[in-house]
Point group: C2
Chain length 430, copies 2
């Protein structure tokens, strides 16, 4: 039986594990596909690095990725290089060479997925990328295939393990952001340059991918409102606890009530302890999907790491390989709905605002007036004695346009009776 030839682009933590599993589990994979897979080449950036720990022939390594992809006999290209270029050019060349592509590249998919899908469509190949969001957790296939007979209303995801680890430490050990980040770096959960994670770029890219699949609409990372966790303070964490909530960096994609627009965002938010996502600790990931018919579903597991990510990559490899053997193709881009993407200001959210105010009569009236002048309705107010002359006012609003909420906070900040804004955070998951 002819083998299916696999070209592997990238041989880092994930690529090495893909190569290893492809080799070690070759018999099982062949049985599940109906034909054996053959690792035909591994493109690496630097030749000569010692890779003797991998059970693969050293002759397979090449620094000529483009030559490997276009040599003409490759059935499946696995791209685990990451970043925009040269990954994009290599994937486009692979599809043009009529290979199917499996990628773990969230940044590229979120920036230019449409071009990749168009090429897959044109040349008849598959484009799979389960590993791009939430590592080992099957979430893209469920969205593309299992829930495709339903209507998704909202997706809430904890899709970045680094920030979830940091926020968990801040919550459970009382560490500040800087300390928790250092701890995450020491444990290998955060990179030396943590920007992509802590500033929310990674979560925003994943939010774009999730939103596109959930709402059959083209969404890029540039469409996503993004806020990181670097400004989350111990006061925010404490305020959340007082409210029976916990702070999480959430990737959120939600349809408006009228079904006419979709908002996509990634930012820290308070969620109630009773929400299934609240118990997702440390570096774990989870995605909570709310559907019209299915109700709430949660998908939970490891969001990163070599072996878990390789599991997702290999699941896709088997899927596209089966198509080579049995015919057919997986779902392509589905953007027929083309729902309007609403800007953040129009998104309906709720705010938790904690204020340091003067402890005297009439303060609450002034603050409440500022809210009402912006059309923002208050759900609860709690007033706590602070110091001799200070009080803390904790306000949770009803849903309102995010712009109005943001303006309200600015107006309140200007009030003489308000000495400081202790914490402002959106409240989700209720």
């Amino acid at each position: 039986m002819d083998s299916l030839k696999v070209a592997l682009l990238g041989c880092g933590v994930v690529g090495g594990e893909v190569a290893r599993q492809l080799t070690v589990h070759a018999d099982d994979l062949a049985a599940r596909i109906g034909r054996p897979l053959e690792l035909a080449g591994i493109a690496v950036r630097r030749a000569g690095r010692d890779r003797s720990d991998l059970p693969v022939d050293s002759a397979l390594f090449t620094t000529d990725a483009m030559g490997l992809v276009t040599r003409g006999d490759i059935d499946i290209v696995v791209e685990v290089i990451g970043g925009i270029e040269p990954a994009r050019s290599l994937i486009l060349a692979a599809l043009e060479a009529e290979a199917s592509v499996v990628s773990a590249n969230k940044a590229l998919l979120a920036e230019d997925g449409a071009a990749l899908f168009a090429a897959a469509e044109k040349y008849g190949g598959d484009l799979y990328y389960e590993a791009a969001v939430a590592g080992a957790i099957p979430i893209l296939r469920p969205l593309r295939e299992s829930l495709v007979g339903d209507r998704v209303r909202r997706v809430l995801g904890i899709v970045n393990g680094t920030t979830n680890y940091i926020l968990t430490r801040m919550t459970e050990s009382g560490a500040g952001f800087a300390e928790a980040l250092e701890e995450a770096q020491a444990l290998g959960y955060a990179e030396a340059d943590p920007t992509a994670d802590v500033e929310g770029f990674d979560a925003a890219a994943k939010a774009a991918i999730l939103a596109g699949l959930a709402f059959h609409t083209r969404v890029t990372a540039a469409d996503v409102h993004r806020e990181g966790i670097t400004d989350v303070t111990s006061a925010d964490i404490a305020s959340a606890r007082e409210m029976g909530c916990v702070v999480k960096l959430l990737a959120i994609a939600e349809l408006s009530d009228d079904g006419e627009s979709v908002g996509v965002r990634a930012h820290p938010a308070m969620i109630p302890l009773t929400h299934p996502l609240a118990g997702v600790r440390e570096a774990f990931n989870a995605v909570y999907v709310e559907c019209e018919a299915a109700g709430g579903l949660m998908f939970y597991g490891q969001g990163a790491g070599g072996a878990p990510t390789a599991s997702a990559v290999l699941g896709d490899v088997v899927a596209v390989a089966r198509h080579r053997v049995n015919g057919g193709r997986g779902p392509g881009e589905s953007a027929y709905a083309n729902v309007r993407l609403r800007p953040m200001g129009e998104t309906r959210t709720r705010y938790h605002v904690s204020l340091d105010v003067a402890d005297r009569a009439g303060v609450l009236a002034q603050v409440a007036t500022a809210f009402s002048e912006h059309g923002v309705s208050i759900e609860t107010v709690r007033q706590a004695k602070h110091g001799s002359d200070d009080a803390e006012l904790v306000i949770v609003t009803h849903h309102a346009d995010d712009a109005a909420l943001s303006d309200t906070v600015e107006a309140v900040r200007q009030l003489d009776v308000v000495r400081g804004v202790l914490s402002v955070m959106r409240v989700e998951g209720q």
Copy 2:
């Protein structure tokens, strides 16, 4: 564009919801498939029942299910009748008529899945059945497709909402089994004859389906060791709480450490509160899958009900319809591994045993001797004063063959110093 003709067999809670969603969401479904679906007929047992609440033409109803399935122009048959016959004959006839089949029938799949898959293979159709296990939760597709590049080690599932509701009430309100069952019946979570649920038949059928997919081995309900929850007592629930555990009815499928055999069972067990399944309350379902590369994954959501089950059915309808449009077929039966199914007695488990013993010197020595004579190693013993002359001895064992554990309990029961066995339960999820 020609429509794809769908025959619906059964129009109860699930079937009615399938018909409704097929009609109401026709435009979305057509866009996602690439061709419209047309509800071509609905087979019902009794003619003349008022179904005017459904947005479908009353001329579509027929009592001649076989005639509908074999009329020659049906692309997709949706079977939501349940039970073995006539469902099996209808599905076989549908496949022979070159239709694809979507079924929610766990009993049939667990009893005779192999024959159905053989027919699908022979005539080139698809056989999908996501709704058969855990309702709306995508779990079969993840096992068949997403995790197919990995090696599953163990599946632990809360797959029966009725029993999970009853056990939740017993845990949280202190109700006894009979009282909690009545409450479940009043709320519609349990049927008037609750046997299939409370005796574990439903969970056992689902365990067989999960095991077959996870281990690429043919498993039927008859291969599954089954125990229900009717004997779970308040003492068991209290013992679990003392241990930091909770009692759940689990569907379990696990590979032996040497990978040479699979054990499949459904029975009540204690799991630690720290396990992700412990927080799955009321009628919710969840399946926890442990994989070699992916680690632990959990899939959580609603396991029953008309709309959630219809969501799973319609996801499958879209999948098989896409194959009609684009070519290809979904995965067929995968039983190549043909792993030996080990009997319950050989299965390695742990027991929690709570004994009412005489409060005098030497009791622990006698009990411990009985354990050691059966080759069962004790992990922890806790002794609590009970009455004036009574004590309670709580023992948790290490892993041992289930037969040895069971024999040990019988031997201990015969000891003069043991006045009664208060609670015996397996401990899982550690």
